[in-house]
Amino acid sequence: MLLQLKLPSIRLNKEISVEEKKIELNKVDEFPPMPVSLGSMRVNKTSSWRNFRPIIDGEKCIGCGICWKFCPEPAIFPTNPPEVDYDYCKGCGICIANCPVDAITRQDETK
Protein backbone atom coordinates (compact mmCIF):
# COMPACT_ATOMS: atom_id res chain seq x y z
CA MET A 1 0.00 0.00 0.00
CA LEU A 2 1.40 3.36 -0.99
CA LEU A 3 0.76 6.33 1.29
CA GLN A 4 0.48 9.69 -0.38
CA LEU A 5 3.21 12.05 0.83
CA LYS A 6 1.84 15.47 1.68
CA LEU A 7 5.11 17.32 1.78
CA PRO A 8 6.15 20.61 0.24
CA SER A 9 8.28 20.36 -2.84
CA ILE A 10 11.76 21.67 -2.13
CA ARG A 11 13.27 20.53 -5.38
CA LEU A 12 16.15 22.71 -6.47
CA ASN A 13 15.33 24.49 -9.68
CA LYS A 14 18.09 23.37 -11.97
CA GLU A 15 16.69 25.31 -14.91
CA ILE A 16 18.18 28.73 -14.36
CA SER A 17 18.04 31.82 -16.47
CA VAL A 18 21.52 33.20 -15.85
CA GLU A 19 24.54 31.44 -17.27
CA GLU A 20 26.55 29.79 -14.53
CA LYS A 21 29.74 27.86 -14.88
CA LYS A 22 32.04 26.22 -12.44
CA ILE A 23 35.10 28.34 -11.76
CA GLU A 24 38.48 26.72 -11.21
CA LEU A 25 40.85 28.50 -8.80
CA ASN A 26 44.43 28.05 -9.93
CA LYS A 27 46.13 31.33 -8.97
CA VAL A 28 45.85 33.20 -5.67
CA ASP A 29 44.85 36.41 -7.42
CA GLU A 30 41.80 34.64 -8.83
CA PHE A 31 40.64 33.65 -5.35
CA PRO A 32 37.80 35.52 -3.68
CA PRO A 33 38.85 37.09 -0.34
CA MET A 34 36.92 34.55 1.72
CA PRO A 35 35.99 30.89 1.24
CA VAL A 36 32.88 31.48 -0.84
CA SER A 37 31.77 29.60 -3.91
CA LEU A 38 32.05 31.77 -6.99
CA GLY A 39 29.39 29.88 -8.85
CA SER A 40 26.22 28.84 -7.05
CA MET A 41 25.64 25.37 -5.66
CA ARG A 42 23.77 24.64 -8.87
CA VAL A 43 27.12 24.35 -10.63
CA ASN A 44 29.21 23.18 -7.71
CA LYS A 45 28.22 19.52 -7.61
CA THR A 46 29.31 17.95 -4.36
CA SER A 47 28.85 14.24 -4.90
CA SER A 48 32.29 13.35 -6.26
CA TRP A 49 33.34 11.52 -3.09
CA ARG A 50 30.36 9.13 -3.03
CA ASN A 51 31.38 5.47 -2.80
CA PHE A 52 27.92 3.93 -2.61
CA ARG A 53 24.84 4.99 -4.51
CA PRO A 54 21.43 4.53 -2.81
CA ILE A 55 18.83 3.00 -5.11
CA ILE A 56 15.18 3.29 -4.08
CA ASP A 57 12.86 0.49 -5.09
CA GLY A 58 9.54 2.18 -5.91
CA GLU A 59 7.66 -1.10 -5.59
CA LYS A 60 8.75 -1.70 -2.00
CA CYS A 61 8.47 1.97 -0.92
CA ILE A 62 5.52 2.72 1.43
CA GLY A 63 5.93 6.52 1.12
CA CYS A 64 6.63 7.10 4.80
CA GLY A 65 9.10 9.95 4.06
CA ILE A 66 11.68 8.75 6.60
CA CYS A 67 14.52 8.78 4.02
CA TRP A 68 13.61 12.36 3.10
CA LYS A 69 13.54 13.39 6.77
CA PHE A 70 16.82 11.72 7.64
CA CYS A 71 18.87 12.75 4.60
CA PRO A 72 21.40 15.25 6.01
CA GLU A 73 22.21 16.85 2.65
CA PRO A 74 19.21 16.98 1.80
CA ALA A 75 19.46 15.11 -1.47
CA ILE A 76 16.17 13.21 -1.38
CA PHE A 77 13.05 14.83 -2.80
CA PRO A 78 9.70 14.10 -1.13
CA THR A 79 8.12 12.67 -4.23
CA ASN A 80 6.29 9.38 -4.29
CA PRO A 81 8.40 7.33 -4.48
CA PRO A 82 11.23 9.60 -3.28
CA GLU A 83 13.88 10.59 -5.76
CA VAL A 84 17.61 10.89 -4.99
CA ASP A 85 19.56 13.86 -6.32
CA TYR A 86 22.82 12.18 -7.29
CA ASP A 87 24.50 15.54 -7.98
CA TYR A 88 24.62 16.17 -4.23
CA CYS A 89 24.15 12.76 -2.55
CA LYS A 90 27.36 11.86 -0.65
CA GLY A 91 26.41 8.22 -0.25
CA CYS A 92 26.35 8.30 3.54
CA GLY A 93 23.77 5.51 3.64
CA ILE A 94 21.57 7.03 6.35
CA CYS A 95 18.51 6.57 4.12
CA ILE A 96 19.41 2.90 3.68
CA ALA A 97 19.84 2.34 7.42
CA ASN A 98 16.54 4.02 8.30
CA CYS A 99 14.21 2.66 5.62
CA PRO A 100 11.63 0.56 7.58
CA VAL A 101 10.92 -1.75 4.64
CA ASP A 102 14.45 -2.12 3.24
CA ALA A 103 13.41 -0.49 -0.01
CA ILE A 104 16.80 1.18 -0.49
CA THR A 105 19.87 -0.74 -1.57
CA ARG A 106 23.45 0.34 -2.08
CA GLN A 107 25.30 0.10 -5.36
CA ASP A 108 29.08 0.27 -5.46
CA GLU A 109 30.08 3.30 -7.56
CA THR A 110 33.33 1.66 -8.61
CA LYS A 111 31.51 -1.16 -10.43
Binding site: P33, M34, P35, V36, S37, S40, M41
Partner: protein
Amino acid sequence: MKTVMNGDFAASYGAMTSDVKFVAAYPITPQTLIVEKLSELVADGELDASFVKVESEHSAMAACIGAQAAGIRTFTATSSQGLLLMCEVLHWAARARLPIVLANVNRAIAPGWSIWADAQDSISQRDTGWMQVYAENNQDVYDSILMAYKIAEDNDVLLPMMVNLDAFFLSHTSEVVDLIDNDKAKEFLPAYDPEYKLDPNNPRAFGALTSPEHYFEFTYKMFEAMEVAKKKITQVGKEFGDIFGRYYDMTESYKIDDAETVLVTFGTIAGTAKESVDRLRKEGKKVGNLKIRVFRPFPTEQIIDALKNAKRVVVIDRDYSYGNEGAFYTEIKGALYDANLRIDTYGMIAGLGGRDVSTAVIKEIVEKAETSEPNKTYFIGVKR
Protein backbone atom coordinates in the same frame (compact mmCIF):
# COMPACT_ATOMS: atom_id res chain seq x y z
CA MET B 1 29.02 69.18 18.75
CA LYS B 2 31.06 69.10 21.93
CA THR B 3 29.55 67.21 24.82
CA VAL B 4 30.68 65.37 27.93
CA MET B 5 30.43 61.59 28.05
CA ASN B 6 32.14 58.50 29.36
CA GLY B 7 34.10 56.10 27.15
CA ASP B 8 31.30 53.58 26.95
CA PHE B 9 28.86 56.18 25.63
CA ALA B 10 31.58 57.39 23.24
CA ALA B 11 31.63 53.84 21.84
CA SER B 12 27.81 53.78 21.54
CA TYR B 13 27.74 57.15 19.78
CA GLY B 14 30.65 56.02 17.60
CA ALA B 15 28.47 53.15 16.39
CA MET B 16 25.51 55.49 15.90
CA THR B 17 27.52 58.03 13.92
CA SER B 18 28.78 55.11 11.81
CA ASP B 19 25.11 54.39 10.98
CA VAL B 20 25.22 50.73 12.01
CA LYS B 21 22.14 48.75 11.01
CA PHE B 22 22.47 45.85 13.41
CA VAL B 23 23.62 45.49 17.00
CA ALA B 24 23.78 42.22 18.93
CA ALA B 25 25.40 42.38 22.34
CA TYR B 26 25.43 40.78 25.75
CA PRO B 27 26.09 42.99 28.77
CA ILE B 28 29.20 42.60 30.91
CA THR B 29 30.76 45.05 33.34
CA PRO B 30 32.32 47.49 32.43
CA GLN B 31 30.90 47.38 28.89
CA THR B 32 27.23 47.37 30.01
CA LEU B 33 26.73 51.09 29.40
CA ILE B 34 27.60 50.66 25.71
CA VAL B 35 24.81 48.12 25.27
CA GLU B 36 22.32 50.08 27.38
CA LYS B 37 22.93 53.29 25.46
CA LEU B 38 22.61 51.57 22.07
CA SER B 39 19.41 49.86 23.20
CA GLU B 40 18.06 53.26 24.28
CA LEU B 41 19.10 54.95 21.02
CA VAL B 42 17.33 52.25 19.00
CA ALA B 43 14.22 52.32 21.23
CA ASP B 44 14.01 56.12 20.97
CA GLY B 45 14.27 55.97 17.19
CA GLU B 46 17.52 57.91 17.11
CA LEU B 47 19.37 54.96 15.62
CA ASP B 48 17.66 53.06 12.81
CA ALA B 49 18.99 49.59 13.56
CA SER B 50 17.93 46.15 14.71
CA PHE B 51 18.93 45.50 18.30
CA VAL B 52 19.10 41.79 19.04
CA LYS B 53 19.26 40.50 22.61
CA VAL B 54 21.32 37.35 22.76
CA GLU B 55 22.14 34.76 25.43
CA SER B 56 25.93 35.02 25.29
CA GLU B 57 28.86 36.79 23.71
CA HIS B 58 29.41 33.81 21.43
CA SER B 59 25.87 34.32 20.15
CA ALA B 60 26.39 38.08 19.88
CA MET B 61 29.29 37.65 17.48
CA ALA B 62 27.55 34.80 15.67
CA ALA B 63 24.51 37.04 15.09
CA CYS B 64 26.76 39.84 13.84
CA ILE B 65 28.46 37.42 11.46
CA GLY B 66 25.08 36.41 10.00
CA ALA B 67 23.87 39.98 9.65
CA GLN B 68 27.15 41.28 8.23
CA ALA B 69 27.23 38.38 5.74
CA ALA B 70 23.78 39.49 4.62
CA GLY B 71 25.36 42.80 3.66
CA ILE B 72 24.68 45.22 6.51
CA ARG B 73 26.94 47.08 8.91
CA THR B 74 27.01 45.55 12.38
CA PHE B 75 28.42 46.42 15.79
CA THR B 76 28.93 44.66 19.07
CA ALA B 77 30.77 45.30 22.31
CA THR B 78 32.18 43.12 25.04
CA SER B 79 34.89 42.80 27.64
CA SER B 80 37.15 40.29 29.34
CA GLN B 81 35.48 36.89 29.85
CA GLY B 82 32.97 37.85 27.18
CA LEU B 83 35.69 38.37 24.60
CA LEU B 84 37.18 35.02 25.53
CA LEU B 85 33.83 33.31 25.03
CA MET B 86 33.73 34.90 21.56
CA CYS B 87 37.09 33.43 20.61
CA GLU B 88 35.84 30.81 18.17
CA VAL B 89 33.60 33.22 16.30
CA LEU B 90 36.22 35.99 16.33
CA HIS B 91 38.28 33.70 14.12
CA TRP B 92 35.23 32.99 12.02
CA ALA B 93 34.47 36.68 11.43
CA ALA B 94 38.05 37.35 10.35
CA ARG B 95 38.44 34.35 8.04
CA ALA B 96 35.01 35.07 6.54
CA ARG B 97 36.45 38.54 5.89
CA LEU B 98 33.51 40.32 7.51
CA PRO B 99 34.39 43.91 8.47
CA ILE B 100 32.61 43.84 11.82
CA VAL B 101 33.61 46.45 14.40
CA LEU B 102 33.75 45.49 18.06
CA ALA B 103 34.37 47.70 21.06
CA ASN B 104 36.21 45.78 23.76
CA VAL B 105 36.59 47.25 27.21
CA ASN B 106 39.97 46.00 28.42
CA ARG B 107 39.34 44.18 31.70
CA ALA B 108 41.35 41.61 33.64
CA ILE B 109 40.76 37.88 33.34
CA ALA B 110 39.53 35.79 36.29
CA PRO B 111 40.39 34.34 38.72
CA GLY B 112 40.79 36.46 40.93
CA TRP B 113 37.58 37.90 39.73
CA SER B 114 38.35 41.41 38.55
CA ILE B 115 36.45 44.06 36.64
CA TRP B 116 39.40 46.45 36.36
CA ALA B 117 41.68 47.55 33.53
CA ASP B 118 44.08 45.02 32.04
CA ALA B 119 44.76 44.19 28.39
CA GLN B 120 45.09 40.43 28.86
CA ASP B 121 41.67 39.87 27.24
CA SER B 122 42.43 41.44 23.86
CA ILE B 123 46.09 40.41 23.86
CA SER B 124 45.01 36.79 24.24
CA GLN B 125 42.90 37.27 21.08
CA ARG B 126 45.84 38.74 19.16
CA ASP B 127 45.98 35.94 16.59
CA THR B 128 42.31 35.85 15.63
CA GLY B 129 42.81 37.94 12.50
CA TRP B 130 41.22 41.06 13.99
CA MET B 131 42.84 44.45 13.68
CA GLN B 132 43.34 45.99 17.10
CA VAL B 133 43.27 49.64 18.12
CA TYR B 134 44.02 50.82 21.67
CA ALA B 135 42.34 54.12 22.52
CA GLU B 136 43.98 56.70 24.73
CA ASN B 137 40.92 58.80 25.54
CA ASN B 138 37.17 58.96 24.89
CA GLN B 139 37.53 61.06 21.74
CA ASP B 140 39.91 58.42 20.45
CA VAL B 141 37.25 55.74 21.17
CA TYR B 142 34.57 57.64 19.26
CA ASP B 143 36.77 58.58 16.30
CA SER B 144 38.39 55.13 16.09
CA ILE B 145 35.03 53.40 15.62
CA LEU B 146 34.14 55.63 12.68
CA MET B 147 37.58 55.13 11.14
CA ALA B 148 37.46 51.39 11.89
CA TYR B 149 34.49 50.87 9.56
CA LYS B 150 36.18 52.87 6.82
CA ILE B 151 39.38 50.82 7.10
CA ALA B 152 37.72 47.44 7.64
CA GLU B 153 35.25 47.80 4.78
CA ASP B 154 37.92 48.70 2.22
CA ASN B 155 37.75 46.06 -0.54
CA ASP B 156 41.45 45.31 -0.21
CA VAL B 157 41.23 44.98 3.59
CA LEU B 158 37.92 43.30 4.58
CA LEU B 159 39.04 42.46 8.09
CA PRO B 160 37.20 43.04 11.36
CA MET B 161 38.50 45.65 13.78
CA MET B 162 38.50 45.74 17.56
CA VAL B 163 38.59 49.11 19.30
CA ASN B 164 39.90 48.67 22.83
CA LEU B 165 39.32 51.03 25.72
CA ASP B 166 40.57 50.66 29.28
CA ALA B 167 38.04 49.65 31.91
CA PHE B 168 36.92 52.52 34.15
CA PHE B 169 39.85 54.77 33.22
CA LEU B 170 37.88 55.36 30.01
CA SER B 171 34.68 53.33 30.20
CA HIS B 172 33.34 55.13 33.27
CA THR B 173 35.29 58.40 33.13
CA SER B 174 33.64 61.42 31.56
CA GLU B 175 35.57 63.62 29.16
CA VAL B 176 34.76 66.10 26.43
CA VAL B 177 33.90 64.33 23.19
CA ASP B 178 33.31 66.21 19.96
CA LEU B 179 30.50 64.39 18.13
CA ILE B 180 30.42 64.43 14.35
CA ASP B 181 27.39 65.61 12.44
CA ASN B 182 25.56 62.67 10.76
CA ASP B 183 25.70 64.17 7.27
CA LYS B 184 29.42 64.82 7.53
CA ALA B 185 29.95 61.31 8.84
CA LYS B 186 28.11 59.87 5.83
CA GLU B 187 30.41 61.76 3.48
CA PHE B 188 33.41 60.26 5.26
CA LEU B 189 31.89 56.79 5.62
CA PRO B 190 29.58 55.87 2.74
CA ALA B 191 26.92 53.16 3.04
CA TYR B 192 28.20 49.58 3.29
CA ASP B 193 27.89 47.76 -0.02
CA PRO B 194 29.91 44.53 -0.05
CA GLU B 195 30.69 42.58 -3.19
CA TYR B 196 30.17 39.21 -1.50
CA LYS B 197 27.00 38.78 0.51
CA LEU B 198 24.18 36.33 1.15
CA ASP B 199 21.72 36.83 -1.67
CA PRO B 200 18.77 34.50 -2.41
CA ASN B 201 18.96 35.49 -6.08
CA ASN B 202 22.60 34.49 -6.29
CA PRO B 203 22.97 31.55 -3.91
CA ARG B 204 26.53 30.71 -2.85
CA ALA B 205 28.20 28.52 -0.28
CA PHE B 206 29.84 30.67 2.44
CA GLY B 207 32.56 29.29 4.68
CA ALA B 208 32.18 25.82 3.25
CA LEU B 209 34.61 22.90 3.38
CA THR B 210 37.97 24.08 2.03
CA SER B 211 40.49 21.48 0.93
CA PRO B 212 44.29 21.71 1.39
CA GLU B 213 44.24 22.82 -2.24
CA HIS B 214 42.68 26.17 -1.29
CA TYR B 215 42.92 26.85 2.48
CA PHE B 216 46.54 28.04 2.31
CA GLU B 217 45.71 30.77 -0.21
CA PHE B 218 42.95 32.18 1.98
CA THR B 219 45.44 32.70 4.80
CA TYR B 220 47.92 34.26 2.37
CA LYS B 221 45.19 36.67 1.30
CA MET B 222 44.79 37.76 4.95
CA PHE B 223 48.53 38.44 5.07
CA GLU B 224 48.15 40.64 1.99
CA ALA B 225 45.09 42.36 3.48
CA MET B 226 46.93 43.14 6.74
CA GLU B 227 49.78 44.71 4.73
CA VAL B 228 47.26 46.87 2.85
CA ALA B 229 45.59 47.72 6.17
CA LYS B 230 48.82 49.26 7.48
CA LYS B 231 48.78 51.81 4.67
CA LYS B 232 45.04 52.24 4.86
CA ILE B 233 45.05 53.03 8.60
CA THR B 234 47.59 55.82 8.06
CA GLN B 235 45.71 57.11 5.01
CA VAL B 236 42.28 57.09 6.71
CA GLY B 237 43.77 58.71 9.83
CA LYS B 238 45.06 61.57 7.70
CA GLU B 239 41.83 61.89 5.75
CA PHE B 240 39.89 61.98 9.03
CA GLY B 241 42.20 64.72 10.29
CA ASP B 242 41.81 66.79 7.13
CA ILE B 243 38.02 66.73 7.54
CA PHE B 244 37.52 66.76 11.31
CA GLY B 245 40.78 68.29 12.57
CA ARG B 246 41.94 65.31 14.64
CA TYR B 247 44.77 63.30 13.06
CA TYR B 248 45.49 59.65 13.80
CA ASP B 249 48.12 57.10 12.80
CA MET B 250 49.25 53.63 13.88
CA THR B 251 51.70 55.15 16.34
CA GLU B 252 52.15 58.56 17.92
CA SER B 253 55.54 59.95 18.89
CA TYR B 254 55.88 62.41 21.75
CA LYS B 255 59.18 64.25 22.26
CA ILE B 256 61.28 61.40 20.92
CA ASP B 257 63.60 63.36 18.61
CA ASP B 258 66.30 63.96 21.23
CA ALA B 259 65.12 61.34 23.73
CA GLU B 260 67.65 58.94 25.22
CA THR B 261 64.98 56.90 26.98
CA VAL B 262 61.85 56.18 24.97
CA LEU B 263 58.80 54.76 26.72
CA VAL B 264 56.60 52.53 24.59
CA THR B 265 53.02 52.56 25.83
CA PHE B 266 49.43 51.89 24.75
CA GLY B 267 45.93 52.70 25.96
CA THR B 268 45.44 55.13 28.82
CA ILE B 269 48.98 54.60 30.08
CA ALA B 270 50.13 56.50 26.97
CA GLY B 271 48.34 59.64 28.20
CA THR B 272 49.93 59.42 31.63
CA ALA B 273 53.30 58.68 30.01
CA LYS B 274 53.19 61.93 28.02
CA GLU B 275 52.53 63.88 31.23
CA SER B 276 55.41 61.96 32.84
CA VAL B 277 57.70 62.84 29.92
CA ASP B 278 57.04 66.55 30.55
CA ARG B 279 57.72 66.19 34.29
CA LEU B 280 60.88 64.11 33.80
CA ARG B 281 62.19 66.58 31.24
CA LYS B 282 61.87 69.32 33.86
CA GLU B 283 64.22 67.19 35.96
CA GLY B 284 66.64 67.16 33.02
CA LYS B 285 65.95 63.65 31.80
CA LYS B 286 65.71 63.22 28.05
CA VAL B 287 62.61 61.03 27.89
CA GLY B 288 60.07 60.53 25.12
CA ASN B 289 57.01 58.39 24.51
CA LEU B 290 55.97 56.23 21.60
CA LYS B 291 52.30 55.32 21.73
CA ILE B 292 51.32 52.13 19.91
CA ARG B 293 47.78 52.93 18.83
CA VAL B 294 47.37 49.99 16.47
CA PHE B 295 48.73 46.60 17.56
CA ARG B 296 47.36 44.54 14.64
CA PRO B 297 48.51 45.00 11.98
CA PHE B 298 51.79 45.65 13.78
CA PRO B 299 53.40 48.98 12.79
CA THR B 300 56.96 47.60 12.47
CA GLU B 301 58.21 50.30 10.08
CA GLN B 302 56.91 53.20 12.20
CA ILE B 303 58.37 51.66 15.36
CA ILE B 304 61.82 51.24 13.81
CA ASP B 305 61.73 54.82 12.59
CA ALA B 306 60.69 56.16 16.01
CA LEU B 307 63.14 54.12 18.09
CA LYS B 308 66.25 54.11 15.90
CA ASN B 309 68.04 56.88 17.81
CA ALA B 310 67.04 55.83 21.33
CA LYS B 311 69.60 54.61 23.87
CA ARG B 312 66.99 52.87 25.99
CA VAL B 313 63.60 51.45 25.02
CA VAL B 314 61.25 50.90 27.94
CA VAL B 315 58.08 48.98 27.05
CA ILE B 316 55.18 49.14 29.49
CA ASP B 317 52.83 46.17 29.17
CA ARG B 318 49.48 45.95 30.94
CA ASP B 319 49.48 42.26 29.99
CA TYR B 320 51.75 39.27 30.40
CA SER B 321 52.31 36.32 28.08
CA TYR B 322 52.68 33.54 30.64
CA GLY B 323 56.06 31.91 30.41
CA ASN B 324 57.66 34.69 28.41
CA GLU B 325 57.19 38.46 28.81
CA GLY B 326 54.81 41.30 27.94
CA ALA B 327 53.31 40.86 24.46
CA PHE B 328 54.22 44.37 23.32
CA TYR B 329 57.78 43.93 24.63
CA THR B 330 58.34 40.79 22.55
CA GLU B 331 57.04 42.42 19.41
CA ILE B 332 58.93 45.70 19.87
CA LYS B 333 62.15 43.70 20.20
CA GLY B 334 61.23 41.81 17.04
CA ALA B 335 60.84 45.08 15.15
CA LEU B 336 64.23 46.35 16.36
CA TYR B 337 65.87 43.08 15.30
CA ASP B 338 64.41 43.49 11.81
CA ALA B 339 66.29 46.78 11.52
CA ASN B 340 69.55 45.47 13.03
CA LEU B 341 69.06 47.85 15.96
CA ARG B 342 70.74 46.59 19.14
CA ILE B 343 69.26 48.94 21.72
CA ASP B 344 68.97 48.22 25.45
CA THR B 345 65.37 47.22 26.07
CA TYR B 346 63.39 46.84 29.28
CA GLY B 347 60.11 44.95 29.62
CA MET B 348 58.03 46.59 32.33
CA ILE B 349 54.86 44.82 33.42
CA ALA B 350 52.64 47.33 35.20
CA GLY B 351 49.05 48.12 36.06
CA LEU B 352 47.71 44.56 35.95
CA GLY B 353 44.18 44.08 37.24
CA GLY B 354 43.52 47.81 37.23
CA ARG B 355 46.40 48.88 39.46
CA ASP B 356 46.96 52.56 38.78
CA VAL B 357 49.92 53.52 36.60
CA SER B 358 50.42 57.09 37.77
CA THR B 359 53.15 59.56 36.83
CA ALA B 360 54.93 58.41 40.01
CA VAL B 361 54.87 54.81 38.77
CA ILE B 362 56.20 55.85 35.36
CA LYS B 363 58.96 57.82 37.07
CA GLU B 364 59.79 54.66 39.02
CA ILE B 365 59.84 52.69 35.75
CA VAL B 366 62.28 55.12 34.12
CA GLU B 367 64.54 55.03 37.19
CA LYS B 368 64.35 51.24 37.24
CA ALA B 369 65.44 51.12 33.59
CA GLU B 370 68.35 53.48 34.29
CA THR B 371 69.66 51.29 37.08
CA SER B 372 68.80 47.75 35.96
CA GLU B 373 70.17 45.16 33.63
CA PRO B 374 68.77 45.56 30.10
CA ASN B 375 66.89 42.98 28.00
CA LYS B 376 64.93 41.67 30.97
CA THR B 377 61.37 41.74 32.25
CA TYR B 378 60.49 43.53 35.50
CA PHE B 379 57.19 43.52 37.38
CA ILE B 380 56.68 47.04 38.68
CA GLY B 381 55.13 47.54 42.10
CA VAL B 382 55.13 43.96 43.38
CA LYS B 383 54.59 44.06 47.16
CA ARG B 384 57.72 42.62 48.73
